[in-house]
Amino acid sequence: MTNPTDHLLRYRPWKGELNPPVYASWAMARSSLRLLFRRKIFWALYALALMIFFFFFYGQYLVVWIQMQTASQTVNFGAMPVKMSELTKFLDKLNLNGSPHTFGNFIWFEGYVAMIVLALAGAVLVGNDFQYGSLPFYLSKPIGRRHYVLGKMLGIGAFINLLTTIPALLLFIQAGLLYDWQSYYIDNYLLLLGILGYGLLLTVVLSLLLVATAVWVRRTVPLIMIWSGLFVLCHRVANFLVEAQNLSPLWRLIDLWNNLYLVGLWLMRADPEAVKLGPQPEPWQAALVLAGVCIGSMLYLRKRIQAIEIVS
């Protein structure tokens, strides 16, 4: 009588050195990227994010080109002669000039797409682990809860930076090439560090918050709703309270994206008088709220990601 496995390749032993657990976090981050890159909706959203990037990219180029080449020229709109330099006035609000506000505005607008991408990423990368029982797969391995959270945060952080920091850095390089590149890069090295700091801040705060909310709600649609509530509803409510009801600017602290923006501008040493919406709370107050969000998320994750869930 033949055995069912007679035709199979024989089992072969493996002898090798095993890496420390931190390598597992890196492996988890890579598989997270793979999981999201396979989704068509991610590419559609990324294309949308690229449109914002190209708007800033060509806008920055256009402003310089008009100033350099055709600033003194006029064009006729019907019978009205209009100076070319006047045509770019509407772009002034976006500060397309390689200043800290250029990058602050860029990341602010990218936030709308980032919010949806992150909700999708949270559901796919973290929510699924709870919904489909993948957690035992991870936590039965020689890794701790912190390695699991770090791996997921690295994966989510990669998407945050793909949408914000990396395009912002490309805009920084472009700005240097459009102006006097030597003096721009040397004079603005602190701005470069500020962009990197802003990226790091977004990565830490958003990935921690996303992992915590994904552990809580798990499914994509509720996650998008919670995420929208946090970033759109809170923004609208904060605007209403401060601008329409003339309440204290501290009410803006309920708007997380605004808090990130304020601390980001502070990191890039932007002029605080020129922030998008005024009046605003102090950057340190926004930083305190963000620190509170991070600590709250970590405490929640510590409670929810239990190794004992592995064996039911």
């Binding site: 597992a24 699924n128 993948s134 035992p136 391995k141 020689p142 701790g144 064996v311």
Partner: protein, 313 residues
């Protein structure tokens, strides 16, 4: 030879509830079945063996490595690397292909990336999943999912495999295949395997030793043959006469009859000190003619029920 499990007075409490009560156990390497009804303490024991929770008191070693509790320490990583765990839950990562899933498991165990990928190909081929390795794991059939879970447990070639309900949800052919694989891994490839299951037939089919837990206590441990021999003698009686009267007479004489007998048969337990001559005496007294007295081996199923019954405690 190093013991597979060496546990001394291992206890674990959750608040007022004692999930595991002073379990002392020495098991040599080999294929071990872990049996027990729901709430017996099996899961708690598995969690302690894997270093996921710490025992409240007592000590223990798995292949001479101390149980590490739930601390993120080097010793605890060492313990978990000894063990390949196949969970009962699906525990798949939706969206990953079979090969990626198993290779990721290898990397989580600490294998270098290229070696994990190469090894994943080998293990999936060994487990007859070579043609399905580029398919998404969520599209696998129940049998394929079980083998994929076994593959991720085998990826780093651990000396100990801990299989939680390995044949759960499988059809008869898939079950046979899985049991054959488990036997082969144990007998040909020297793996020590702990099978936690409710299916006694699975344990009987593959395990050399059985550990029976009930109410957090160790109720039985030994080889399947030893456990079945350590019972009172069972006999199957064929006779001519009134079954009810014979049964009552046997009970009146201090013997115990067992349910699950054929229509014209009785099964009876002879405790130590009693002989088959007593059966003939009882039959003779009520004018029943005994035609056959056959020795009747107890099944593991019966042994399990007897051992885990509340009065057995």
């Amino acid at each position: 030879m190093t013991l597979l499990l060496d546990l001394n007075n291992l206890s674990r409490t959750f608040g007022a509830h004692r999930a595991l009560k002073d379990v002392t156990l020495q098991i040599p390497q080999g294929l071990v079945g872990l049996l027990g009804p729901n709430g017996a303490g099996k899961s708690t024991l598995l969690k302690i063996l894997m270093g996921l929770i710490a025992p409240t008191s007592g000590t223990g070693r798995v292949l001479d490595v101390s149980l590490g509790g739930d601390r993120d320490t080097r010793d605890n990583w060492r313990l978990r690397r000894l063990i390949g765990f196949m969970p009962e839950a699906d525990a798949l990562v939706p969206g990953l292909k079979g090969i990626e899933y198993v290779a990721l498991a290898g990397e989580l165990y600490g294998m270098p990336r290229k070696q994990a990928l190469r090894r994943a190909h080998e293990v999936l081929t060994y487990l007859d999943l070579d043609e399905a390795r580029y398919r998404a794991v969520e599209d696998y059939s129940a049998g394929m999912k079980q083998r994929a879970k076994l593959a991720q447990a085998l990826i780093h070639d651990p000396p100990v495999l801990l299989l939680d309900e390995p044949t759960s949800g499988l059809d008869p052919s898939g079950r046979d295949k899985m049991l054959h694989l488990i036997r082969e891994l144990g007998s040909l490839h020297g793996k020590s395997i702990i099978v936690s299951t409710h299916l006694l037939a699975d344990v009987q089919a593959v395990c050399e030793r059985v550990v029976i837990l009930a109410d957090g206590e160790l109720r039985g441990v030994g080889t399947v043959a030893e456990l079945c021999a350590r019972r009172d003698d069972y006999y199957r009686l064929r006779f001519v006469g009134s079954k009810e009267a014979f049964e009552q007479a046997l009970i009146a004489s201090g013997l115990t009859t067992v349910k699950h007998a054929a229509a014209r048969e009785l099964r009876v337990v002879l405790p130590a000190g009693r002989s088959t001559l007593d059966l003939f005496r009882v039959a003779d007294a009520i004018d029943v003619s005994l035609r056959a007295v056959l020795r009747d081996d107890v099944s593991l199923d019966e042994l399990f029920r007897q051992t885990t019954a509340p009065e057995a405690a």
